[in-house]
């Protein structure tokens, strides 16, 4: 046991060296961070002398990965949003109604009158006048079903059609609901990401959580309210046919219609059809511009599908008004003057130039397909984060020194070995944290301090065991050998059990708690490594050189 093969010795020292080297950048945090930012900027083409100078602050041959600081240390905002995926079902059902109506219209002689009935938002109910025609009506509506476009839903159709007495009930099939949810989530994630990127903050985290949630963490931002404003809640643009203009907000709209207010004329309401002609999803471009009178406006362009629908609609409805609706308010309701082909147009209203710029940005980034509800929000100011870092630093140093002194007093020279190993241990933790790009949180610092306390445990186990073996007077070499051998099972069992709890914490926990689990888990690995390899190697080297007749542990 006291024989260490040379390749093992080399491997142990190399591991320590690499680990410590990886930890070094964290000692020069600001400098390395500026270096990294500058290098990233230069890669993107911003090759300014300033960036060059920043990049030169840190030699490029040294590692430059840093431990990420969590929001509780850096300051910033954290939001957990739930996407109301069911919103999309409603839109889908509304869009299905005109299709169903148009399909059934030619069959009126058999099915009788067709009327839309009030229904839950994710259903479409259509009453037909003549129950005898139900079979034909069902077949006709079923023919509208399209195959679901997703990997899991192959072979399934998007709508399910059934009959209840004289009412046709159309719902989205389960497969289609799943596929729709998935699309809604992808879209929402993408849009949130684009909006946050437009503001250009450092390293935002935008992650999907579970089936319908998005976790958004933006370091350095002033408050969660600010972040919410950037994300916006809906900004949903649609173009709807106008049924009526009214001054009475309580007027009865009729099935399939709704009453919504005008954005800039108080007391003015519009009755519009809920099913939009074209929606914001079909927009490909939006720019601030001016109308022919020099008023601020937003010009936009549709994609091919949107352009065709918009073209057909305007060709069929010359002389009637249509409404441009933004977040359930009518921006304007111009009368269609002529067939608008080509799919581009202009939104005018009483806008300021600034408003049109913002509106264009919102439209360009795309509307969120569904509403976001915020389940959790946290803001930590940068000063509080800095205070926590400072307090954490001082506490860690004091804890460290206290443990070092105590170990020296208790075990003398062997204590010094354990202390060197402990310093290497903390270095290795930071090295590993940087390597895996883990996030350090305040509880994470507590995890490191705890590790400092517990890391010596493995050494203590060994040293105590050596003391015991010395009593049976087997000679120092044999005592050291037996000490390591017999303490090994206790060290492994004790650390495996603690490691199990760290893993469970990591899997089940979130945010700061997970940060704690990471440092605790890595700390266990490094402390076992340092105790059974590094300390032992030091003891062995010392023993080989001195060959003492007696030792005191």
């Amino acid at each position: 046991m006291l024989q260490f093969e040379s390749w093992k010795r080399v491997l142990i020292w190399i591991t320590c060296l690499v680990g410590l080297l990886l930890a070094v950048p964290n000692g020069f945090y600001t400098r390395v961070e500026q270096h990294n930012d500058a290098v990233a900027a230069i890669e993107l083409g911003a090759d300014t002398p300033e960036n060059q100078e920043m990049a030169a602050q840190w030699p490029s041959y040294l590692p430059s990965s840093l431990v990420n600081l969590g929001l509780d240390l850096r300051g910033g905002a954290h939001l957990l949003a739930e996407v109301q995926v069911a919103d999309v079902y409603q839109a889908r059902m509304e869009a299905t109604w005109p299709e169903v109506r148009d399909a059934l219209r030619p069959l009126r002689s058999t099915v009788g009158t067709i009327r839309k009935q009030p229904s839950p938002v994710d259903e479409l109910r259509v009453r037909i006048g003549d129950v005898a025609g139900m079979q034909l009506a069902l077949e006709t509506v079923r023919a509208l079903a399209r195959p679901v476009q997703s990997l899991t839903g192959i072979g399934a159709f998007d709508i399910a059609v059934s009959a209840v007495d004289d009412v046709i009930v159309v719902t989205l099939s389960e497969a289609e609901k799943l596929a729709t949810d998935e699309r809604t989530m992808q879209q929402s994630l993408e849009i949130v990401r684009r909006r946050i990127d437009e503001v250009g903050t450092r390293e935002p985290t935008i992650q999907r959580q579970g089936t319908d949630r998005i976790l958004i963490q933006v370091p350095g931002i002033g408050s969660a309210a600010e972040l919410k404003a950037i994300i916006g809640t809906t900004a949903r643009l649609t173009f709807n046919p106008v049924v009526n203009r009214t001054n009475d907000g309580n007027v009865i709209a009729g099935a399939g219609n709704s009453v919504i207010p005008s954005i800039d004329e108080p007391g003015q309401f519009y009755v519009i059809e809920n099913a939009p002609v074209v929606a914001g999803d079909d927009l490909v471009d939006a720019q601030p511009s001016f109308d022919q009178n020099g008023g601020a406006a937003v010009s936009f362009r549709f994609n091919t599908a949107g352009a065709r629908r918009f073209g057909n609609y305007t060709a069929d409805n010359i002389g009637s008004p249509f409404a441009i609706v933004l977040d359930n308010e009518v921006v304007s309701a111009p009368v269609i003057q002529s067939h608008i082909a080509g799919g581009s147009g202009i939104i005018t209203g009483r806008f300021s130039v600034e408003e049109t710029t913002n509106l264009a940005v919102l439209l360009r980034a795309g509307a969120l397909p569904a509403k976001l509800t915020f389940l959790e929000e946290r803001t930590v100011g940068p000063e509080l984060g800095q205070d926590s870092i400072d307090a954490g630093k001082v506490a860690t140093m004091v804890a460290f020194v206290a443990v070092l002194v105590f170990m020296f007093l208790s075990y003398g020279l062997f204590g010094v070995f354990a202390n060197i190993a402990l310093i290497i241990n903390v270095g290795l933790i930071f090295g590993l944290l940087s390597l895996v790009g883990a996030t350090l949180t305040l509880p994470g610092i507590a995890g490191i301090v705890l590790t400092v306390g517990m890391a010596v445990d493995a050494n203590v186990l060994v040293f105590e065991r050596i003391r015991e073996e010395l009593k049976t007077s087997k000679g120092p070499a044999r005592a050291i050998e037996l000490g390591y051998e017999k303490a090994l099972s206790a060290i492994l069992d004790a650390n495996v059990t603690t490691f199990i709890t760290a893993v469970i914490l990591f899997v089940m926990g979130s945010g700061p708690v997970r940060g704690f689990a990471i440092t605790l888990g890595l700390g266990i690995i490094t402390s076992v490594f340092t105790a059974i390899f590094v300390t032992r190697l030091m003891v062995v080297i010392w023993f080989e050189r001195r060959r003492p007749k007696t030792i005191e542990v």
């Binding site: 915020f374 506490a395 105590f406 507590a446 105590e464 017999k486 099972s489 603690t498 709890t501």
Partner: protein, 322 residues
């Protein structure tokens, strides 16, 4: 000369009064559990939803004035407490304000926070709000379920591990000690009404890990000594094992407590509750591995004839010659 916290060759009798020790533990657990039933835990917003705002002002905190300022806002249950910390500057006066989850809302709205901040600015126009946290009832409900599940899972996983590495009696003893530690920790949080939030769950699991660490070291020695002294009665073997590992037990507890105490005093008020839980856990965990885990093991008894059957029955190190 070496610093020795435990003198060599101790021979304390840990089981002479085992009924007394177990009785004390049971009594403590009952008090803790009773306190939990009677006044409940002071749950943070992680577990019951709501909003906390940390305020920082150069003027001294006048809780009554804060309360008056927030009175008319109809926010429901509002609690205000001043925060003290040795790290604060002289003119740094910090308070925590907690409001309950608002009806019909998940996370608090921007408007509500705006109104609150305006009201507080009437006391001190320069007041700052270094942190605002809001958790909706939906998430808090899930968090509490996940947290409880995590603790149960951790204890379950450990039970299985020790059962595989030792014998089922050891596993039950270790788990009894863990339950003891968790109940006492929840009890002290309930008794002192310290804020119980997500971080405390992390602390609880760490206590589980630490207590186990201690128990396993003792058990490892018990396993070894059971083979060494085949004729001695179990109580004596247990006593020898605990005495032999006593020095290590004390050493590790002291180094861990040294580190934790530094964090408790200097680490700032944000994690003080968390660190307190761990300090308490280290003390209780050390006690329980001697007086609960081993006592239960004594009570359950152990099969003594391992060596006659498969030499590897005790795990991969069981065949090491003792």
């Amino acid at each position: 000369m070496r610093l020795k916290l435990v003198k060599e060759n101790t021979n304390f009798d840990f089981f002479g009064r085992w009924k007394l020790w177990l009785g004390i533990s049971l009594l403590m657990m009952m008090i803790g559990f009773g306190s939990y039933l009677y006044q409940g835990l002071n749950f943070g917003i992680d577990f019951r939803g709501g909003t906390t705002i940390r305020t920082e002002s150069t003027q001294p905190v006048d809780i009554a004035a804060y309360r008056d300022a927030l009175e008319g806002l109809e926010l429901g249950d509002v609690s205000i407490s001043e925060v003290f910390d040795p790290n604060f500057r002289d003119d740094q006066n910090v308070a925590m304000i907690r409001i309950q989850a608002q009806d019909g809302q998940e996370a608090v709205t921007v408007d509500t926070i705006g109104v609150l901040e305006t009201a507080l600015h009437s006391i001190d126009p320069d007041m700052k709000f270094p942190s605002v946290e809001s958790v909706g009832p939906k998430v808090s409900g899930e968090l509490i379920k996940t947290a409880a599940l995590a603790v149960v899972l951790a204890i379950g996983a450990v039970l299985i591990y020790i059962w595989l590495r030792f014998e089922w009696q050891f596993a039950l003893g270790a788990v009894a000690a863990l339950v003891h530690d968790v109940v006492l920790t929840i009890g002290v949080f309930s008794e002192l009404q310290i804020k119980f939030d997500l971080a405390i769950i992390a602390a609880l699991l760490t206590i589980v890990g630490y207590s186990l660490n201690d128990t396993v070291v003792v058990f490892d020695r018990v396993r070894e000594n059971l083979r060494k002294y085949k004729k001695k009665p179990l109580a004596e073997v247990l006593n020898i094992s605990i005495n032999e590992t006593l020095s290590r037990t004390v050493m590790t507890s002291v180094t861990t407590l040294l580190a934790l105490t530094a964090l408790f005093v200097l680490g700032g008020d944000v994690i003080r509750g968390f660190v307190f839980a761990m300090i308490w856990g280290v003390i209780v965990g050390t006690y329980s591995s001697v007086f609960v885990a081993s006592t239960i093991l004594l009570y359950l008894g152990v099969k003594r004839d391992w060596s006659k059957t498969d030499p590897k029955a005790g795990g991969q190190y069981a065949n090491i010659d003792a």
